[in-house]
Assembly symmetry: C2
Homo-oligomer: 304 residues x 2
Amino acid sequence: MRILVTGAGGFVGRALVGQLGEVHEVIALDLSCDGLPGAIEGDIADPAVRAEATADPVDAIVHLATIPGGAAEADPEAGWRTNMDASFGLIQGAARHGNRPRVLFASSIAVFGDPLPAKVDDATPLRPKMVYGAHKAMIEQWVATLTRRGAIEGLSLRLPGIVARPRAPSGMISAFMSDVFHSLKARQPFVSPVSPEATLWLMSVDRIVGNIRHALESELVADEPHAVTLPAVRTAMADLAREICRQAEADPALVSYRPQPAVEAGFGRQPPLETPRAEAMGFGNDGTLAALVTRALERIGEGL
Amino acid sequence: MRILVTGAGGFVGRALVGQLGEVHEVIALDLSCDGLPGAIEGDIADPAVRAEATADPVDAIVHLATIPGGAAEADPEAGWRTNMDASFGLIQGAARHGNRPRVLFASSIAVFGDPLPAKVDDATPLRPKMVYGAHKAMIEQWVATLTRRGAIEGLSLRLPGIVARPRAPSGMISAFMSDVFHSLKARQPFVSPVSPEATLWLMSVDRIVGNIRHALESELVADEPHAVTLPAVRTAMADLAREICRQAEADPALVSYRPQPAVEAGFGRQPPLETPRAEAMGFGNDGTLAALVTRALERIGEGL
């Protein structure tokens, strides 16, 4: 398959391109793609960059590029250009060849907004509150419409928190979910912006790469609403920190808690999650908290 | 109240501005606003035009301007610029004053797509199939998000077919719903592109103006999903034509049927419609088919 990956220079993108490159022809696209051979470096908000990326037909797009939560809040206009206009233009450019490409859109649990209901499942309505979450909900609708029309074969995947992202500033309010891995692996103090009881939905980068590959390589059954919430491991912050300390042999006393109400409300109140649709389609979570922590710590060991 | 009306030079816009102008300060905005004093003439897709329209705070926006069904299908890029980017920019411009303006967004029953389920009610999922319907569904989501955030006091109103629009080409595939009034009033032949059994949801322009005034002037109870399907009169095409002939004293033999499958599928299969939410909020339909036809024919009598 010929696969265009946007956001290829990012955390998930690099891991994905590394795996896909072994069996597929990959067109990597990002602002910066250091070390990715043959990549297109440019801004998807630039029509010329999109035109270059979609000049020839692709069998599939994995559309990861996004202006994330905090950055979209800070600059809603820039967020709109990249998350809305560029997504539209990119898919339009690929679909015009008429070969009905598969389009996997990286959506987010931010589409559910906050506060979340007592349980989230496949019937939970989309009520985003963050700018970013609204962008994701809207492009989900567009991907679904184009799929109904037969222009693309689309599926939106709602990603939970992916760990452990690199420490570099990413504009993500949820960065603490990854920072806890980095700090404790390095035996440094970690101050949690959510309470010990805060509950999180998490997935390792290896598992999300596996899920995206599954979505690329398996038969997709066209099914409304052409969007699916991925399974996640649900953990309390205290349990997560304890498991990281155990596996990384770090002193649990390095962990302290200074909850910030906004972070707690937005990211620390994730209720029980039921994802039967995703599971029926073959998507999975990391299985256990221990397995998730092991995978996440291994990636840090690779210097990422 | 200081009220900005986009699409003010259009069919619904003119009727609305005429009524609002008697009690409110109205800023009319459209590409062409012949005969509307003090109007801003310009394209809402032009940032400078939006900046002019929102330079000072407004208490409310009635956002009617749109690239309609057929035109958006023919040019999806132009549709995106006007229906998506301009809607975003316009609301952003008004909200930045911090006075939490009321935003009434003219959405459409096109958000439900086709084929429609056996019944449409307040729980029917949004599954647009036309480009235009997807645009409406997406901006509904954006209006709802901004309302949740407290930036605006938003409500999307899903309009049924409004009759009788002028005969001028409007880019609307549904123009036949209005043309039947014009033709029979003029005692000219009318060839229906839908079958006699085709069922339609209709509202007179007077009734939609009344509903929009109600949404402007009454207390809005913040309620998810911040969008509401308006009540309509449901009629079979044959019953509609017969009632127009009766009131206009036209020969029923002027009416013939040459159904086009695409028009029938998109506009002629409108099932029973239940709108308890809208009714609880004080919105209403024309009451009877006879009343709807009377109001629509009166408007044609005014030379519109």
